[in-house]
């Protein structure tokens, strides 16, 4: 797992990607997200991984399982990172799963 995936999330399978892109259609990127239902810690993710394209890896094309798997790998050290390993260690697998699921509800059409 320590090959050059350091700065980039692995892309997911074609099917899941297509489904996600479909869900993202019609979303408004201008307004802030509704964090009223966000599980503990989740809303902070958006300060780096937001709606726009930047130098940071985007989460938009990732499924909940992708994000959860990445968080698990960062937590255990199976996957290198500049910073995410330090943050992932602050969350249990259950917390990470809840965060991953909530994140994939963000930026989607209602």
């Amino acid at each position: 797992m320590k090959e050059r995936k350091t700065f980039r999330f692995a892309t997911t399978t074609g099917g899941a990607l297509t489904a996600l892109l479909f869900c993202l259609c019609g979303s408004s990127l201008a307004a802030p997200q509704d964090v009223s239902q966000s599980p503990p810690g989740a809303s902070a993710c958006l300060s780096c991984h937001g709606a726009g394209e930047t130098e940071l890896p985007s989460l938009k094309a990732l499924s909940a399982l992708d994000i959860e798997t990445a968080m698990d790998a960062f937590r255990t050290g199976a996957r290198d990172a500049t910073l995410m390993n330090r943050i992932a260690k602050g969350f249990t697998p259950e917390e990470s799963r809840a965060i991953a699921q909530w994140l994939t509800t963000q930026g989607r059409a209602p």
Binding site: T6, S36, Q37, C45, T54, L83, I87
Partner: protein
């Protein structure tokens, strides 16, 4: 203005945007339009709540990346934001200074005498520079030896002084004891000024006089200074005589317990405290900061007032834009729950601070925080700083990520 609770949500567009909370009643006032206050206003309003934001300035000039402005690597315009997007969103913006808070009747008085009542107040006044704490350093002195710890004219003054300095000059930065806004900030500033000197005034030196013996990301900064700047950067800590006890602004002299240091350009980062209104309203304790409940951010010294950002204390979170923004989101959730009559969920908070040692060399500190024993305590095993012996590619990536973070957070708060 009436002190009764109001229901203003019935027909607003905001209520339609968040139907789940449309039944929630309550008037929320936010004081301060920085990373904390502007975020809180946006997220609370997004939940369908009635939000008034009190902020006297038409523009917000952001501190993160302002050290790059000082070093001539960036324009101040890249630091400057307006509240137009917040107004478009439907947030009521009151362009006044809040001058008083009557905590018993839940009412804010503005500088123009207008009074605004609230059910919940989110107080995000940021810092005040404490011009009484360091002999010789008052507001007039800051025109000669800038602090540049609130971005704007002071940032440009320090930059201009550096540009006007002759090659071979000495730049001195004094750093305060903890706690203060942006713990790695003085050292990033020293780094980027050293970069400017190396490239433009190579015979010049930079000295940091510090009131403490340890600082944020110390081992990373120290190693990078040695590698990149050699003898150009010198740091003197508390036990080495680095504590500044007085400044003589006209002569640009820093007085320490061990002697005097004369600067060609002097940057005094003075001791700080919570913004004035928090002090005058009795929400800050004797340390000058506002203790808070770690779940709701409600002030321990005044009910129905929630303090976020640099002004609050209560655990390990550093005073950073990232912290203020993360606290704003958690606080918004808690305030919405309280107005519904629900128990707020225990939050988890995250902080990340990037610093640049040179334009393509970034380092970071991160932390995860959770309520424990009345504080927002570090989650054990998480957090920490960038790896000590990382290759240049990792430093370059972190410098890029710093840019990405800035774009994302400023878009979220002001865009």
């Amino acid at each position: 203005m009436s002190l009764t609770r109001r229901t203003l949500l019935a027909s607003s567009a905001a209520a339609l945007a968040a139907p789940a909370l449309a039944q929630t009643q309550g008037k929320i006032v936010v004081i301060g339009g920085g990373f904390g206050g502007a975020s809180a206003a946006r997220f609370l309003h997004r939940m369908g709540l009635d939000v008034t934001l009190i902020e006297p300035n038409a523009q917000y000039i952001s501190c993160p990346f302002s050290n790059s402005v000082i070093a001539g690597l960036r324009d101040l315009s890249q630091q400057t934001f307006t509240y137009a997007a917040l107004e478009r969103q439907g947030i009521r913006l009151v362009r006044q200074m809040a001058s008083q808070i009557n905590t018993s009747v839940r009412r804010v008085t503005l500088a123009d005498g207008v009074m605004i009542s609230y059910d919940r107040l989110v107080l995000a006044p940021g810092i005040d520079l404490n011009f009484e704490a360091l002999p010789g350093y008052d507001e007039a002195a800051s025109n000669l030896m800038p602090h540049a710890w609130k971005a704007g004219a002071q940032t440009m003054l320090l930059r201009q002084q550096l540009e006007a300095m002759d090659d071979g000059g000495t730049v001195i930065i004094s750093a305060p004891a903890n706690p203060f806004r942006c713990p790695p900030g003085p050292y990033e500033r020293a780094s980027l000024i050293a970069w400017y000197l190396k490239n433009n005034k190579p015979r010049s030196k930079l000295l940091i006089l510090d009131s403490k013996d340890a600082f944020s990301k110390q081992s990373l900064f120290t190693a990078a200074w040695k590698e990149i700047y050699g003898d150009r950067v010198e740091w003197i800590g508390l036990s080495g005589g680095g504590k500044v006890t007085e400044v003589k602004a006209k002569e640009k002299i820093f007085v320490t317990e061990f002697g005097e240091h004369k600067a060609d350009v002097g940057n005094v980062i003075p001791p700080q405290r919570a913004g004035k209104i928090a002090i005058s309203a009795g929400i800050a304790d004797q340390t000058g900061w506002c203790p808070i409940d770690p779940v709701t951010f409600e002030a321990k010294l005044a009910p129905h007032i929630h303090v976020i950002g640099d002004a609050c204390v209560g655990g390990g979170m550093p005073k950073s834009a990232f912290s203020a923004n993360a606290q704003a989101k958690a606080c918004a959730q808690a305030v919405a729950a309280l107005l519904r009559g629900d128990n707020p969920v225990e939050p988890k908070l995250v902080n990340t601070c990037y610093s640049l040692v040179k334009p393509d060399y970034g380092i970071s500190v991160a932390g995860v925080y959770a309520p424990a024993k009345g504080l927002l305590a570090d989650v054990q095993g998480a957090g920490g700083v960038s790896a000590a012996n990382a290759p240049a590619s990792v430093r370059a990536a972190e410098a890029q990520y710093a840019e990405g973070w800035y774009k994302t957070i400023t878009q979220e708060v002001f865009g």
